[in-house]
Symmetry: C2
Subunit: 328 residues, 2 copies
């Protein structure tokens, strides 16, 4: 029951239902804080000292806008929300630190399933959830904030911004694109039909439901002298545009690696792959650094040019696509 | 226009409407980052080094649940959302650092007015907004995350937790309670009638619409040896209960300072006053520290006792009131 502005909700002790019981249940599925730190349970989390500068970001997921709960579980929705915020840290070349998660949802929402996905992504990315908030709402909304670090410390360079690319810099992407968009297409096509099957299909659906942030790739790229970086969250064309705008350069792409089963349109316009786009004046050193770290070498997709109006792939204009929320 | 899961929203250049234009407009009303830092505009904000430990918290406000937009403006709603998160930092005895703000709202929402209030609270609390996210949604939801610091550094003690109170500790509150709840009552009574007037009424309405976090009070209390602390966000009875639960003590109150025009029920059960409750083994030193800092001395309201089942005011049981969101 939602009591707008009410201050009179009766509170039973010990509670087995309601916000405080749900919070206690959630806290039990999250890891405990190390000595000297305080995570869930106080007004604010208390974390350890931070070396170098602090990275700080937020990302919000709204059901029906950022994910269709008819095509994925609440656990997938939670996974995606946390991953999107961690990917922002990866795009700076950062190490993930900690996250806080605020959830607004209708009272009948299966919070346990939502937090299953949040906890799984948190574990996969080694980014503990250290605090949160919970509220009634007509929509399911998950707001994540994450902190991280990216130097500078000692000889290690600091965070990689969007705006550091220069004409002549090579452009890389850390992996093939379009998998998430293709997975969404397959899921939509399968509504009311048999569940999609096959290895390729499974991989695409997984890419849509459980994307991974490229933390290792981002950190290696930073140390190898990346001049600019961004994650592919809105679509390559859109995100490369953000990088080019910030760097005041043009971008000329030769080709774009496309995930098996995805179309070129999906590779250019589909977001949420969370691969990283990397600009660097030293392409050979970048490839060597990835190989030395045991990572798949990034794919060279083109280079930056002097004229900021140039936005091409194989000589043709990049499509003007990408996600934007409508506001007046 | 909301395009659920769409990746094909056309993006005009230069845009005067839509998410990116709104974000650009919002960025212009927020202060610029100092040299060496990056605030709005990259994947994550880049902040300076952190001395001692890091505080990290989140707080979410949902229209119709945390604030009635028929009784306050969107600017007030934004102010309250940011203030609630900053108050969590104050309740640890922390210095406010920086905040990120994620907003979900219907496309016709007056974002400028919402950000007016966010920016005003940010300025009032010296807590710059350094990043954000914006999404379409059926409800207005504002999720704030804030970082801060509270030592330990040098001779300065570290953050004050909820769980450090001991039997015999004195209990203080930083100011009279119930003003926000009384302001809400007056606003509700005035719907369809003349706007409430008079100095006392104005003060109560202002307390509801534009509460202040007690950052100075929290920091002074920490340095003066507070053993436990919490902010009054859910109501004194509820929040004092959280402190007592965490500290495994009972609480015996003598009296509770009530804001002029507020009732005792409002003082005990009304939340969102954001005054701080302070436990300390050295009450005289606490009062002297506040006076020396030029702050109004805190009011002694009672003390902690050994038996955790004791929760009384003037010998009678504290009412079981306070806000809790309904969840299964």
């Amino acid at each position: 029951m939602t009591v707008p502005n009410g201050r009179d909700a009766e509170r039973g002790r010990p509670a087995t239902r309601g916000e405080f019981a749900a919070l206690a249940r959630i806290a039990r599925r999250l890891p405990a804080a190390p000595d000297g730190q305080v995570w869930i349970g106080d007004d604010a989390a208390v974390l350890g000292p931070v070396e170098g500068g602090l990275l700080f970001t937020t990302d919000m997921a709204v059901a029906g806008v950022h994910g269709d709960l008819g095509l994925m579980g609440l656990d997938d929705f939670g996974w995606r929300a946390l991953t999107a915020a961690i990917s922002d840290i990866a795009a700076m070349g950062g190490r993930a630190g900690h996250a806080v998660v605020a959830v607004a949802a209708p009272p009948t929402t299966d919070l346990d399933r939502l937090y299953d996905g949040l906890a799984a992504s948190s574990l996969a990315h080694a980014c503990p959830i250290v605090g949160g908030d919970l509220s009634g709402c007509g929509s399911v909304v998950v707001a994540v904030a994450a902190v991280g670090t990216a130097g500078p410390t000692g000889t290690e360079p600091g965070p990689v911004l969007r705006g550091g690319a220069r004409p002549g810099d090579s452009l890389f992407v850390t992996g093939p694109l379009g998998a998430s968009a293709a997975g969404l297409r397959l899921l939509r096509a399968s509504v009311g039909a048999e569940a999609p099957a096959g290895d390729e299909t499974t991989a695409l659906v997984q890419a849509h439901r459980r994307p991974l942030a490229r933390l290792d790739e981002g950190a290696v790229a930073r140390r190898a002298g990346a001049s600019a970086m961004i994650d592919v969250s809105d679509g390559l064309a859109a995100d490369l545009g953000h990088l080019a705008d910030a760097s005041r350069v043009g971008v000329a792409l030769d080709s774009v690696p496309t995930a098996p089963g995805a179309t070129l349109d999906e590779a250019l316009g589909g977001g949420e792959d969370y691969e990283l786009v990397i600009a660097t004046p030293e392409p050979d050193a970048m490839v060597r650094a990835f190989t030395a770290a045991g990572l798949r070498p990034p794919a060279l997709i083109g280079h930056c040019v002097d004229d900021p109006s140039v936005r091409t792939v194989a000589g043709s204009p990049l499509p003007v696509v990408g996600w934007e929320h409508p506001f007046a």
